[in-house]
């Protein structure tokens, strides 16, 4: 007890600067506040970055998920032999002379008749308005179906046809009655009828496979536009890019890591590679246009040209990743192999490469994933062209057929005027992101599965 009283009595007399660490001086308070602020800035930066990412993904999924669903009408159609097969011979060559206009009439008449049978009437609605609710794409699909199976002629079949883009937009909340009044492509009565049809079960929202499989469609038919050609194009390009980059990238990395003497040439190659990795991608597009298309005369819009451009573009990144993987193999392995009499090449091929393989594959897949999302250079080599025919299979020269690519399709849809294409564009992004997600997941799995710690 006696020990305490002098200290407690002395304490107030001490000058402020030598006060207890437990009592905060104004200076200390300021410093602590600065500390808290600094910490908060860091958190704020993280929050801003993550929030932006979240908002972006949210808006894209909000805009794009509806592309996978499409308002579809289901009704019976009587395929009138008098219209589609005038000769009555069921000869396909003769029947191809009937254009989609004939089929459009069949579809329209069947829909009008079906609605009348069901007793669905909207005051003041003309037959033409009813017919116009059918997508402009539907006759072509019916025609293909009939030509593929001529026994359908004269029969009554149930068909699923898309509604026009505006009616579809009405169910997705994009088109309202106020907009419809000002829009020449859709009338309010059509929307009323669509409501009635939905109640009667004729019109429903169905999963839209054709968004993934169908080719692109013109400006007037957003409901029919699909990703089929773009997906095939991207697939072809990825396949070719993989075939080109893996051997060249691995060979170049092996040379630079294991064999290259330290000289001017090696230095030149190294500086080159690190600079090429940072060249803007659009410059590779100019290169592709000038060399592959203009000089070598390869066709534009071809997956082969796209793959060559993407190969040159991703090679530097892949070489850098591959070299890191090769460098990660400890020298003791090489020494052991050389010690038992293996040649340098045997050491590399039999020991270093197998051990580095998971790292090399991971790097290559990540490089391909970034190439898969590349758009700018592909625009310059003409992949933005409107392509409605699927490229042929690779054995029939499909690599030289015009095709599109997923990211390019996103861009070309986004630049069209009809807002329905924004939905398509966002939907295409969802497909693209899923594609990239699986590539990245594959890379991560490979790394987890085969990664070694030395």
């Amino acid at each position: 007890m006696t020990d305490i009283s002098p200290t407690s009595a002395e304490a107030p007399k001490r000058p402020q600067a030598h006060g207890s660490l437990l009592t905060a001086t104004p200076l200390m308070k300021r410093r602590n506040a600065a500390e808290t602020r600094f910490h908060a800035y860091g958190i704020a930066a993280i929050v801003v970055a993550l929030l932006t990412l979240a908002i972006m993904l949210f808006t894209i999924i909000r805009d794009g998920h509806s592309a996978f669903y499409q308002a579809t009408m289901t009704f019976p159609v009587t395929i009138d032999a008098a219209v589609v097969d005038k000769t009555g011979t069921r000869d396909v060559a003769e029947m191809t002379k009937v254009t989609t206009i004939g089929y459009a009439r069949i579809l329209g008449e069947s829909l009008v008749k079906h609605l009348a049978d069901e007793g669905l009437v909207v005051e003041g609605m003309t037959d033409k308005e009813i017919t116009d609710m059918i997508s402009k794409d539907a006759p072509a699909r019916l025609r293909d179906r009939v030509l593929a199976d001529t026994s359908l002629v004269g029969q009554t079949v149930t068909v699923d046809v898309f509604t026009g883009g505006r009616v579809d937009g009405y169910f997705k909340g994009r088109v309202t009655r106020e907009i419809a009044e000002r829009d020449s492509n859709v009338t309010v009565t059509q929307l009323d009828m669509a409501d009635l049809m939905e109640e009667a079960g004729i019109l429903s929202s169905q999963f839209n496979w054709s968004f993934i499989t169908a080719p692109d469609a013109s400006d007037l038919r957003p409901e029919a536009a699909g990703l089929g050609v773009a997906l095939l194009g991207t697939l072809y390009m990825m396949l070719l890019t993989f075939i080109f980059t893996l051997p060249i990238g691995v060979a170049a990395s092996i040379y630079l890591e294991e064999f290259a003497p330290k000289n001017r040439l090696t230095d030149l190659i190294e500086v080159n590679i690190s600079n090429l990795a940072a060249v803007p991608s659009i410059v590779y597009g100019i290169l592709g246009l000038a060399i592959f298309i203009n000089f070598a005369g390869l066709p534009s819009s071809a997956p082969l040209v796209g793959a060559l451009v993407l190969t040159l573009m991703t090679l530097p990144t892949i070489i850098i990743a591959t070299r890191a993987a090769i460098r990660a193999v400890p020298p003791s392995i090489r020494d052991a192999a050389l010690g038992v009499g293996a040649s340098k090449m045997q050491t590399v091929v039999h020991h270093v490469l197998p051990l580095a393989a998971p790292g090399i594959l991971t790097g290559t897949i990540l490089g391909l994933a970034s190439a898969a999302g590349e758009t700018g250079p592909l625009l310059l080599i003409g992949m933005v062209a409107f392509v409605t025919n699927y490229p042929a299979s690779p054995l029939d020269g499909g690599f030289l057929d015009p095709a599109s690519a997923l990211p390019v399709q996103v861009y070309s849809w986004a630049s069209r005027s009809d807002p329905a294409f924004i939905e398509r564009s966002s939907g295409a992004i969802i497909v693209l992101l899923i594609f990239l997600f699986f590539m990245n997941a594959l890379a991560i799995v490979l790394r987890r599965r085969f990664e070694r710690r030395w």
């Binding site: 930066a45 060979a251 803007p280 246009l289 005369g297 040159l312 758009t375 861009y411």
Partner: protein, 486 residues
């Protein structure tokens, strides 16, 4: 014979060569492999390489050269008038190629023989109608000369493909036989095949140099052609950008350069503080668990294709800025603007700056922090006064690399910045960049003798030089100052 089948044949021959070479080597020593110089597989490998590699190299070369030779000969036959005019000859070649592919389709559809096709002439039969039937739409009636050329184009193509097939096969067989004949027990097969492989490796590494040479050549040659028809001083100092289809265009670089730099500046204003603070947080403050989640998620941003950011700028950011900031303040009514593109590029660059900065901060030795703590500094003081100055060169390098990416960014500006070339200060106005104009001048119909198309190459050259200088400078800074702590 198609390229695919030819490749398969060569490959099959090479595989056969492997086994034949191997067994021949073994036979030459009566099956006693100990008496061979190399392992038996190396004898097979030698035959494989000598069969496949020269044949494939020839094939690749032929495929590149053949179209050029054929085009040259066709254009030559079209007469001097067309041959001298680059645009006309290009258009004529396109017609020829289209009609030729139409004839191919016609033949496939109707089963015409080659003789029947040869007798077809442009004036006699309704070529346009018949080609339209097989899905080749022609703009006008077929010019007889073009049609004849299309026919000889097909013949030349077929002949070329046949000669190539024969030559490739001959080369493959020759390589096969020669390699096989050299095989005997003393043949140093391992050394030979390893030297061969080594040259293949060197050639692969050379692709990097070839790419650079290709970039520089293609940019430089067209840029020189551009300056041949458009004055160089106009390009660099003209203050207007106004391309005209009928000539008399103003193709000044300055408005585009201004737009590029302005947008990049906005992007860096967003990306640098956020990126650096994010890196400081993940490197210094975040508990390991938070760090292991936050860091990959931020890096996820870098993995998202730029066209996604472009759509985000076009659909979300642009209208938001227009409706809530620009319109109320009376600064403009354009959805695409410097601000839109700049903000979105900034977000795109955050992970780039933050992950590089994070690495650099982690490379600062712990002893320096400990020293600072020992003197009584708080954590933020340590970071501000010790860690950041030590990491500064690396951070500057990262910022320069990010700036070079912002300058070269294409899709976000194409979709978010607008197309009007303007010299202005209002960040809510649409402006355009070098990359946007490269895309717009090089998509659609191209005429490689008009300044409006060729200017894209000069723009590309400018972009290439700017980004290259930034990159070299950044790498130099990073390399120079990194050594201090090692």
């Amino acid at each position: 014979m198609s390229v695919g089948i030819l490749s398969l044949i060569v490959l099959a021959l090479a595989v056969v060569g492997f086994f034949v070479g191997r067994s021949r080597a073994l036979k030459s020593v009566q099956g006693d492999s100990r008496r061979l110089h190399s392992l038996p597989g190396y004898y097979g490998q030698t035959v494989f390489l000598f069969t496949a590699v020269p044949a494939f190299a020839l094939m690749a070369l032929w495929l590149i050269v053949q179209p050029m030779v054929i085009d040259g000969r066709i254009v030559g036959q079209l007469g001097p008038q067309i041959a001298e005019d680059a645009t006309a000859s290009k258009l004529a070649m396109e017609d020829v190629a289209r009609i030729a592919s139409g004839l191919d389709a016609l033949q496939a559809r109707t089963g015409m023989t080659n003789d029947e096709l040869r007798d077809l002439s442009a004036d006699g039969s309704d070529i346009r109608g018949r080609l339209a039937e097989v899905g080749i739409a022609l703009g006008s009636e077929v010019d007889p000369l073009i049609f004849e050329m299309a026919k000889s184009f097909r013949i030349m193509q077929a002949n070329g493909a046949m000669i190539m097939s024969v030559l490739v096969l001959v080369l493959a067989v020759a390589g096969f036989v020669l390699a096989l004949r050299r095989i005997h027990g003393e043949f140093r097969a391992r050394n030979v095949s390893e030297t061969f492989v080594r040259w293949l490796l060197i050639a692969s590494a050379g692709v990097a140099i070839l790419t650079t040479v290709g970039i520089v050549m293609s940019l430089l040659s067209e840029t020189i052609r551009f300056f041949g028809i458009y004055p160089i001083s106009e390009f660099f100092f003209n203050l207007t950008w106004n391309p005209q289809f009928r000539g008399g265009s103003d193709l000044g670089l300055i408005p585009l350069l201004w737009g590029t730099l302005y947008i990049s500046f906005v992007a860096m204003v967003v990306a640098v503080p956020i990126g650096i603070f994010a890196a400081i947080y993940t490197a210094e403050y975040a508990p390991p668990k938070v760090r292991s989640v936050v860091k990959p998620v931020i890096e996820l941003i870098a993995g998202i294709p730029t066209v996604v950011f472009g759509l985000f700028a076009l659909v979300t950011v642009g209208p938001f800025l227009r409706d809530y900031i620009a319109m109320p303040l009376g600064l403009g009514n354009s959805g695409s603007s410097v601000m839109t593109a700049g903000l979105v590029i900034g977000v795109l660059n955050i992970p780039f700056i933050s992950s590089l900065t994070d690495d650099i901060i982690n490379a600062v030795p712990q002893s320096m922090r400990d020293g600072s703590y020992g003197l009584g500094a708080t954590k933020s003081e340590t970071i501000r006064k010790v860690v950041l100055p030590a990491a500064l060169p690396g951070i500057v390098g990262a910022i320069l690399l990010a700036a070079s990416r912002a300058i070269g960014e294409t899709m976000i500006v194409t979709m978010g910045a607008g197309a009007a070339a303007k010299l202005g200060l209002n960040p809510f106005e649409a402006m355009t960049t070098i990359t946007v104009k490269i895309v717009s001048q090089l998509t659609g119909d191209l005429a490689f003798d008009s300044p409006e198309t060729l200017v894209a190459f000069a723009l590309g050259m400018t972009l290439f030089v700017i980004t290259l200088c930034l990159n070299i400078f950044a790498l130099w800074i990073v390399r120079k100052y990194r050594e201090q702590y090692e």
